[in-house]
């Protein structure tokens, strides 16, 4: 090739690349209007609340110590600093972690954020003062003490070394609050906002909307790109669909069902972009071990063996936000079982006829042929009612007669806590992918209060503890397999449903936001910009 033709080729390539590069360069300005598909949260204090509505409404105002990399949020273990300077290496055999705090972080009132603020916030999260709530304190069970050793250093001392520590530290609810405010008025953050995040609070209209404007002193230079945002609470899906269609709002960040995706893409064409991915939320079927005949492992295994996960998941994913067949660990995690590993577990066997024959045999052996029982369910369409309808049909194939009892959220919880059910649709939806902590759901109720199987099982606890305390990743993965096999196959404590699929349709002019497995994560909007 001559020099001239090479030059021409380079110029041509550059010309081709230019529009793409220009389109990907963030633009400054604009107000993002988005919806929060929920009623307004009880309070604005993320330390005490568990609903995503709090995070979606307030995350843009706050900083955290570390977070999932906003440029790579789909990776469950790519953590980066937010207010710290660099991710530290642990000392003391993995039991001491020392974080250096940036010196350019300012509160929205102009005062500097220091290590004392970080330490105080984490002290309140781990060991809340009497009368204060820290809803997720059990996630920080490995943390012993948190101290600010000087103005820019925070030291976490752990009770035991564990791979679950960094994900726990990346909890999206773990906002950094101002120390002197917490000391003066511990309830301040329930109704007020004062953070150090990319946006400054401007207005909260009770029950309706929350607004923020760009923080010009934000420590990530150039960010945020938006001039501001407005988040509107829209609990009805029909309103969300219409609003995106009419561009009253650009998106909602939680996730919509496949029907909404199909409708919006059909009506808006290239004006809408749909982001999808596996979701760290899953439903399961839990049998009440204190009710006969569900105290018999043979009956519980039969319930599991009757369901054809592999054949059921693909058609279900077309109508409901469920997608990937998995075990107790989020399928996108390196700790999750592979398909080959899963297929060795009862309920995942590739041959469904063999599986159902075994289910019938076990039911006969347990004297539970033609068993009739009630499946308690929550009055939520996606995916609860779809799941119940599907499994009832699957169970009918081994001669079981099951009826569905649908209850509003309050009575549903009362039923779970009061053990007034035979079998229930259950759930596990965590703030961040942290497999070692997330699978705590499968521990007995005496250890994990949100387990509703009503059983005691010391071996279950021992296997879990061995896995939690294992620091070698390969050995920990193997320990997780043993725990999983015991929970799902040996004891059939739970029957997993396909994991959820997160579908986020947004107006195509919204850029810079990347989907990730948790609807709690990556919501500070610092990287979001509008291509308008």
């Amino acid at each position: 090739m001559s020099f001239r033709s090479a030059l021409l080729s380079m110029a041509f390539c550059a010309a081709l690349a230019l529009p793409a590069a220009a389109a990907d360069t963030p633009k400054r300005g604009g107000i993002l209007t988005y919806m929060i598909p929920a009623d307004a949260p009880p309070s604005l204090d993320a330390h005490r609340e568990t609903t995503y509505a709090t995070v979606h409404a307030t995350a843009p105002f706050y900083s955290v110590l570390i977070r999932i990399n906003p440029e790579n949020p789909a990776s469950p273990d790519d953590f980066v600093c937010d207010v710290c300077t660099e991710m530290p290496k642990p000392t003391d055999d993995g039991k001491t972690w020392t974080f250096k705090i940036r010196d350019d972080v300012k509160w929205h009132d102009g005062t500097p954020l220091t290590a004392a603020d970080v330490a105080k916030s984490w002290q309140e999260l781990v060991h809340p003062d009497p009368g204060m709530l820290s809803a997720r304190a059990p996630y920080f069970v490995m943390i012993d003490t948190v101290e600010a050793t000087d103005a820019s250093t925070v030291v976490f001392k752990l009770k035991f070394a564990t791979s679950a520590f960094l994900p726990a530290l990346g909890d999206p609810f773990a906002y950094i609050y101002k120390k002197d405010i917490l000391e003066r008025d511990p309830h301040f953050y329930e109704r007020n906002v004062l953070g150090s995040g990319p946006f400054k609070f401007t207005e909260y209209q009770t029950g309706q909307s929350i607004e923020g404007v760009r923080n010009p002193d934000y420590y990530r230079k150039g960010q945020p790109y938006l001039d501001g945002f407005k988040a509107i609470f829209t609990p009805k899906q029909a309103v969300e669909l219409d609003a995106i269609r009419a561009d009253r709002a650009a998106t909602e960040f939680r996730g919509m069902p496949p029907s909404a995706r199909d409708q919006l893409t059909k009506e808006l064409g290239d004006k809408v972009t749909v982001l999808t991915g596996d979701w760290n939320c899953v439903n399961m079927i839990t049998a009440n071990h204190q009710r006969k005949p569900f105290d018999d492992v043979r009956v519980r295994r039969a319930l599991m063996l009757a369901i054809d996960q592999w054949k059921g998941a693909p058609p279900l994913s077309r109508i409901v936000n469920m997608h990937t067949v998995g075990g107790i660990v989020f399928p996108g995690s390196s700790m999750a079982a592979t398909k080959e590993e899963l297929q060795k577990i009862a309920g995942y066997w590739p041959d469904i006829e063999k599986s159902r024959a075994e289910a019938r045999r076990l039911l006969k052996e347990a004297g539970a042929e033609g068993l009739t029982f009630e499946l308690m369910n929550r009055n939520v369409d996606q995916p609860y009612k779809f799941i119940a309808t599907w499994v009832i049909d699957e169970w009918a194939k081994v001669g079981l007669h099951v009826t569905q009892k649908v209850l509003p959220t309050g009575p549903f919880y009362e039923g779970l806590r009061g053990n007034t059910f035979d079998v229930t649709v259950d759930f596990n939806c965590q703030g961040l992918v942290n497999p070692a902590m997330d699978v705590g759901k499968f521990l007995p109720h005496s250890v994990y209060s949100e387990n509703y199987g009503n059983y005691d099982d010391q071996k279950d606890i021992d296997l879990y503890q061995a896995m939690l305390h294992e620091t070698d990743p390969v050995k920990q993965r193997q320990a997780m397999r043993e725990f999983e096999t015991y929970v799902l196959d040996t004891q059939a404590h739970a029957i997993m449903m396909p994991w959820w699929e997160r579908i986020v349709p947004m107006r195509s002019y919204v850029k810079g936001w990347k989907i990730n497995p948790s609807h709690y994560v990556n919501q500070d909007l610092g990287t979001v910009w509008l291509d308008q």
Binding site: M35, D39, A40, P42, S43, E49, T50, T51, Y52, G131, M132, L133, S134, A135, R136, A137, P138, Y139, H187, E190, R191, Q205, T206, G207, Q208, S209, K230, I232, F233, T234, P235, K236, A238, V239, D242, A243, R245, A246, D247, R248, A249, C281, P408, T409, G410, P411, Y413, E414, G415, R417, G418, F427, N428, C429, Q430, G431, G440, Y448, S449, E450
Partner: protein
Amino acid sequence: MYQYILKRVLLTIPTLLGAAALVFLLMRLIPGDICLVRLGSGGASFDPKALIACHKEIGVDRPILVQFLEFIWGIIRFDFGTSMWSGKPVSTEILARLPISVEIALLATTVAVGIAIPLGTISALKQNTWIDVAVRIFAIGGIATPSFWLGIVSVLLVLDITSWVSGTPWMPPIDYVPIWKDPIRNLSMAILPAITVGYRYAAVSMRMTRSAMLEVMREDYVRTARAKGLINKLIINRHALKNALLPVVTLIGIEFAFLIGGLVVTEQVFNLNGVGRLFVQAVQNQDYTLTQALVMLTVAVFVFTNLAVDLLYGWLDPRIHFA
């Protein structure tokens, strides 16, 4: 007259107290726990100690009798306490939602009265003609059509029509702005719900106006007025319509009171942050204090609307005296 008003106002006290006792007991019969809903509905784990702290914080760990006496003492002092859900004063929660509900109620009433009285009157005067049949079909359609369905369809129609006409779909705003801040935005949000609610409301009132007018037009005094040679317009406006309006006014009063807290589904369809939606949230969340206050508000609105209607009777029919 003043004695009558005083007597009626005093009578509201046992009514309100009775309603208070009833709602207090009924709320506690519903299974569930506000703290469980609050901490657990996200699906994630929470600290069991947080559950105990939550019970203590909102006071549901105290004996029922203590809670009841505190509630009644609060009513006597017009203090409904704080919302168990949000921790904010109940009055703040309600006052934030009241403007939109009152606005929709007033607009819907205007739509309803504006349609119902003229059409009901015409229908009665043109009894058994095609006009009467058309008005009756229109009225029965309104009664038979649920306003939430009409709301959904009207939004979709507006979206489709604007998309077809201008290429850009339009729908009413999904967030409320007070009328004094931005009248156009406010009305563009409120007008569609007002029409969908007002249509049903108009249909019921129209049927009532027609029946009352038919009855009144057969009265002796109307025949006498005709015999005296009064023109038809004067007979209708001055004699017949005023008397026929008595039951219609009663109906309008009841409907108006219902609209203040009863637009449960319509407010959801249009994303209106009103009292009806708050009512649903309060019951779903098992927020006892807020639900109790909302029931008391609804009872009070009904009681005082009825009082206003009764007082209006005296103006409409001079034969009625208050003693």
